[in-house]
Subunit: 97 residues, 10 copies
């Protein structure tokens, strides 16, 4: 099943550059792994914002919550998800296996 | 360039089933053509709503507005677009040629 | 998978009492069938509003959209769905088979 | 009487992991007790968010406020409740004794 | 149990003065009866708006929804209710028997 | 003149239990005095929230602002007031002397 | 007592120019009378909108609601009022007798 | 030219009473000077809130921004301005020289 | 003085293509004249919406309201204006004479 | 391609005047450079707010995000961008080369 996610990141003012860089490195590794495994089918930057839109393909809600909750920066993210279905006008079921 | 679009459709109560079906048929043909030409890279149904999320890949804003304004149902749609850029954690530039 | 849905109904002023009663009768039959089949696990009235909260248990998003779109009053409803997962503090996975 | 509650948790940045874990352990015990006693009839995780939807069955508003205010994490929660009634299309009065 | 209700009235433009007056007369009778029976404990006009705040004392949610749905003008009203409990600083449980 | 007030309290995370208890004790005394003097005609807890709805009967706006600004917890409260008038369907002018 | 009011006017599409002009003429007369009598202390146009901000000086809420409800265009207006008090930094109590 | 301004003040929790009193004293002097010079034509307290509505008469936008930015408490204020024009129903151009 | 305006157009469903085309032709002429006279300094289409952002340079608020109110499609437009001042980082006062 | 950007700045209370001044100096240099290079075509102050509206002319979204992310004060800014196209009523394509 496909989900569109929007994630907005808000780091606290008190976070040091080193801690922030560490979070970002772990986030990148985690995100890359999800992409390699075909769970995160796409991710884009929202222009001008510390935010992304991404597409997830998972088997159920418990798996999705576990994946989202596992993001290293999860506690600093506002996440909103939207369930997606096949569109009647779509030539194919995009990004869906 | 990539854009995420959300389109919500609101038909007037007075529209007959025949007129509605005609709009939907023309919309489907127009949408299919955009997909075939690689302009609309993806489209999904928002579950439970008469709405879609779609991804457009266009050369500039004038082309995008012309394409959106050309939808047969444009006058009955609320359209909101979000410019997308490559995400630093993305393994590839998804849906972008 | 479980989804919480909120549905708000807005009938047009021009609808006659007979047409409205017919919609409501067909809605009731459709809703009852979904409940009997274990797809709609629960439905409650929002006090003071022509609206409900309901719980759906479906296999995927396409099934859910098809079910929601099949409601006789779908064109008069605003539907918002929220994916639900098992809560870590829950003694059981409520309303989920 | 039934109430739908949505609770969103916001811990302060300064809270240590130990304090947080202690809050969560006490919350789990409190929640489990409410479920065992038939007061909290259901609880689910909102996918992607540190939030839940839950169903309460109480005798009156004073009891409900006392129960909600007794959550160990109450001061870190935004709670919104919605009174629920029996829906005319419901085959039974779900989660209500 | 006490509930605060806010009701906003929106009549359609096409309604004649006679129909409107008839609705208002029946509304007044219905409201007066609820007050006489101690169900509607208070009602005030929101200054400058076709709206009221009112206080209801009912036994349960099904009774309250039945009462609200019985207002002659219910289909033209937006109703929002807020459950009220005894305040710890209150010298008495106001408007509650 | 009658006003409906909604007050939401937000204490800072850094406030100690002792300071908080002191604020609450002074608030209770202040609130009790206003009730005894017939200025605060009613106060209820909003179920599930650190908030109240209350009814004030004052002579003018300067008196009301002075009273509200005098609450010991005023700097931690969001206050919204709504002027109330007699409702044409009211059997009496509730809570108004 | 002083109140700031914002009034937004929304005429239905079906209203003829003649009816609209008649409403506007009666509104102007009514407004002029309120100004002459010192009840409406000021009125300004919100630039770019069919709306005004105005200041009323009345004795109580019932008088204010009666005055606002008496506007010929009241049924086409959204009215929001804000009670005003003397500001501690004000050199005088502006527009207040 | 006239502008309606609404200013909401939010002081940080860490500010001492002395610093706050100093800000307020300087604010009062600054505000009084603007009133004496006919630039701030009026100011009122919003009842129940640490906020004001005020009327400014300035020659242009650069002057207005300079004046607003010069408020001692500017960094703690949310300011929203609304341009005002003469209303066609106004007997005079209120507060405008 | 400069103002940023956003205008959203909403035509009623009942308007014929001929009437719409006539409105649009008159709008174009009116808009072109404002541009030629240096009053409307710029106008752009909001991509995907029947809306524009535009920049006006006028002498005062009464002139601006008169100009905006004179748009042939004014009654079908939602207009929101934002006063602009010279930015301290600007190399010049853009679009300002 | 043209984009309208609105940027709102929120500095933390703990920032010293020296750090703030340094940010502002670097921001001014960065902004000036973008203007000199024809990338930022215009920038204005929003009257009464620590915010700007600005116009960017860039080749694609990745360039724009890189430019916006490069602002020295980016982490303290909320940025919202709106893609702009040529308006059919425009006499020229304003601020576009």
């Amino acid at each position: 099943m496909l989900f569109l996610a929007r994630m907005d990141v808000h780091f606290p003012e008190s976070m040091t550059q080193e801690v922030m860089a560490d979070y970002q490195a772990r986030e990148k590794a985690y995100s890359g792994d999800l992409q390699s495994r075909g769970i995160m089918k796409a991710i884009w930057r929202v222009v001008g914002e510390y935010a992304n839109y991404s597409i997830f393909d998972v088997n159920d809600h418990d798996e999705l919550h576990s994946i989202l909750g596992g993001f290293p920066m999860f506690k600093y993210m506002d996440v909103k998800i939207t369930p997606l279905a096949k569109h009647p006008n779509a030539l194919e079921y995009y990004l869906f296996d």
